[in-house]
């Protein structure tokens, strides 16, 4: 039970199940119907998230990781997006079949999200305190001055100096790191059970990146949130995440505890991603990158979607799509998972 939530927040009607499972995504499909054809952005993604757990979703641009996040939040533009099948269950309630008014009340108090580019994600024409306070005014019916006081409290929590003075300033008056802290303050305002962070540090300097990741980890620990961390940067998540799911062409191709994933990847794509991280202890070696580009989502190749870029691809990879199956204590969608794991 969420014993850590503050007394100000009403008791949530949504509670995790007996195993502590909060969120369950099952066989999710998302398509974009465009004038040029149907782009299959997500093709049967399944994963779950437990209370107090950090799940990293890894992948290149276009792998479907951001679309997954937006599908969970329910902020995809439909149309052009269509969800032909699948379920997203939050504390046992399917968000996809829930009435919109009910689902709207999940966004913010239950599940919230922070985005990559805080400058464009914050409204340029309202003070930051107004934007944070809006959460309290809209979801809790708080009056304006109380909401501002809450905004100051949150800004102090995310370590924005001189929060009282800066609460009425506008987003453009803050630095990139401070803006991302404001986004975080807004997202945790109502003590959500699940926080989705979509590339939260990509737009920031390296030093600031580390600070923001540390802040997220700290808040997650403090509030026992389920945190979904979406990134293309494997270096960022190593210290923070508990588990990782790797996405490729709208499918989850590998799932594992983060340590196993790093130590012994069971999918050639994961291995390629790991090899492309520059490492200090291997100075002087050529950086291995994965050749080629992610596939066109309107024409995903038959068989294994990764086969045109895979060094190990055989005849079977071009003909038969592999299932996501258990290999050791990991899961992998590769015909040669064992060979990769042991090779």
């Amino acid at each position: 039970m969420s014993t850590t939530t503050k007394s100000a927040a009403p008791q949530s009607q949504y509670q995790p199940d007996a195993n502590g499972r909060l969120l369950e995504v099952e066989n999710l499909h998302v398509e974009f119907h465009t004038p040029d054809g149907i782009a299959r952005a997500i093709n049967g993604a399944s994963f779950d998230l437990h209370q107090g757990e950090t799940l990293a979703i890894l992948g290149e641009s276009g792998s479907g990781k951001s679309v997954t996040a937006q599908a969970i939040m329910g902020i995809l533009d439909m149309p052009p997006a269509v969800i032909p099948e699948g379920a997203i269950r939050y504390a046992g309630h399917d968000l996809l079949t829930m009435p919109e008014e009910q689902r709207r009340k999940v966004r913010g108090p239950e599940i919230s999200m922070i985005f990559q580019d805080a400058l464009s994600s914050l409204n340029p024409t309202f003070p930051v305190g107004w934007q944070i306070g809006e959460m309290f005014r809209q979801h809790r019916g708080m009056n304006k001055s109380d909401a501002y006081a809450q905004a100051v409290r949150l800004m102090e929590r995310v370590a924005i100096p001189a929060a009282k003075e800066r609460v009425k300033q506008y987003p453009h008056q803050f630095s990139g790191g401070m803006r991302q802290r404001i986004m975080i303050a807004m997202a945790i305002a109502l003590d959500p059970a699940v926080l989705i962070a979509d590339e939260p540090t990509t737009a920031l300097d390296v030093t600031v990146q580390a600070q923001i990741m540390a802040l997220l980890a700290e808040l997650q620990e403090e509030r026992q949130m389920g945190l979904i961390l979406i990134t293309h940067d494997l270096g960022v998540v190593a210290d923070v995440a508990d588990r990782a799911a790797v996405m490729y062409a709208g499918r989850i191709v590998a799932k594992a505890d983060i340590d196993d994933l790093y130590a012994r990847p069971a999918h050639p794509y994961t291995r390629g991603l790991l090899e492309s991280i520059p490492r200090l202890d291997q100075k002087g070696q050529t950086l291995a990158a994965i050749g080629g580009l992610p596939p066109n989502l309107m024409r995903i190749p038959p068989g294994c979607a990764f086969n045109p870029r895979c060094r190990m691809a055989q005849e079977i990879c071009r003909e038969q799509e592999p299932e996501l199956r258990r290999v050791g204590n990991q899961e992998s969608r590769c015909h040669f998972a064992e060979e990769v794991l042991n090779g």
């Binding site: 974009f32 465009t34 040029d36 782009a39 952005a41 641009s61 276009g62 792998s63 479907g64 990781k65 951001s66 679309v67 937006q70 052009p80 985005f115 990559q116 580019d117 979509d198 590339e199 080629g292 580009l293 992610p294 596939p295 066109n296 989502l297 309107m298 024409r299 045109p308």
Partner: protein, 306 residues
């Protein structure tokens, strides 16, 4: 984050990488698919043909008035009927295209040239040149087009013996005098946008002459929005010419123009609305065609608006 959605919808696939197209080619590809673009092109071609060879469309004499057949309703002989002087409205509407089309096209080209040069000078040289030129632009911008047009036409009036092309030329001149500032402002701001780009700075560092930098780096980028606005303005100039004629100060009879015809028809609007209908319809279609063309070209160059 946003790049992911974009990538999801318009993915870069290996088989499409080779086709790197320029903005112009992209725009043309979008234009070719736009039905409104083709509709406006067809209309404009028709109107231009009317302006050049009105006899292609009618063999009636627009200056032959038959007093015995005044204000007739449309018939097989007179498709659009006849007006207050017994003129055939169809042929007068066809011949009326000339004034509007000449005024529209010539004024647009002239404002583009004058405004373009002035805007480029202000934007490119900056400093006191910009200050002076911008104030001059402000001066002309502060005088409303129609008001300036009325004053100018009143100061240099026509009489019955003034040749047709002189009157039309005067209208073009006056609309240009008061119409160029909008293009100049636009051009100046596009030059200011292009100027800080690295390729322009590089060209400057390499010692390219100002003229060369303007011609090969600034013009290609700054010209498209100006042409779009000039095309849309073309419709406004056609309306301005008609309005001057309506106020009795632009083209005047015996010159044939849509504005003159509308002005004449207003007297009898209560009883003979068809006399008003046809010239108004043609005038509106011409304006519409140029606005649609401008809109289509702008959309093609600005994929965001699609």
């Amino acid at each position: 984050m946003t790049d992911t959605i974009a990538a999801g919808v318009q993915p870069t696939a290996p088989d499409e990488v080779g086709e790197a197209r320029s903005l112009g080619q992209d725009a043309w590809r979008a234009l070719k698919k736009n039905k409104l673009f083709w509709a406006s092109v067809v209309l404009i071609v028709l109107f231009v043909l009317m302006a050049i060879w009105p006899s292609l469309f009618t063999n009636q004499d627009p200056t032959y008035g038959d007093i015995s057949r005044v204000r007739q309703r449309p018939s097989a002989e007179h498709w659009f009927g006849t007006d207050g002087q017994g003129y055939d409205i169809y042929s007068r509407t066809i011949y009326g295209a000339r004034a509007s089309i000449i005024v529209g096209i010539c004024t647009s080209i002239a404002t583009l040239l004058v405004g373009g040069v002035i805007g480029i000078i202000a934007g490119f040289y900056g400093g006191w040149v910009d200050a002076v030129v911008s104030r001059i632009t402000d001066i002309f911008f502060a005088i409303p087009l129609l008001l300036g047009g009325i004053l100018f036409m009143a100061s240099f009036p026509n009489d019955a013996n003034t040749p047709y092309f002189v009157i039309v030329g005067k209208v073009v001149l006056t609309l240009t005098i008061f119409g160029w500032p909008s293009i100049a402002r636009l051009m100046r701001s596009s030059v200011l946008q292009v100027k800080p780009n690295e390729y322009v700075l590089a060209a400057r560092a390499l010692g390219a002459s100002p003229w060369r930098i303007i011609r090969s780096h600034i013009l290609p980028n700054a010209l498209a929005p100006a042409i779009v606005v000039a095309t849309i303005n073309l419709g406004a100039y056609i309306v301005a010419e008609a309005t001057l004629s309506f106020l009795g100060i632009g083209l005047t009879p015996p010159a044939i123009s849509w504005g003159v015809a509308i002005s004449d028809a207003l007297v009898a609007i209560r009883t003979y609305p068809h006399i008003l209908l046809f010239p108004s319809l043609f005038l509106s279609l011409a304006v519409l065609a140029f606005i649609m063309l401008g809109d289509a070209v702008r959309d093609a160059f600005d994929p965001k608006s699609r």
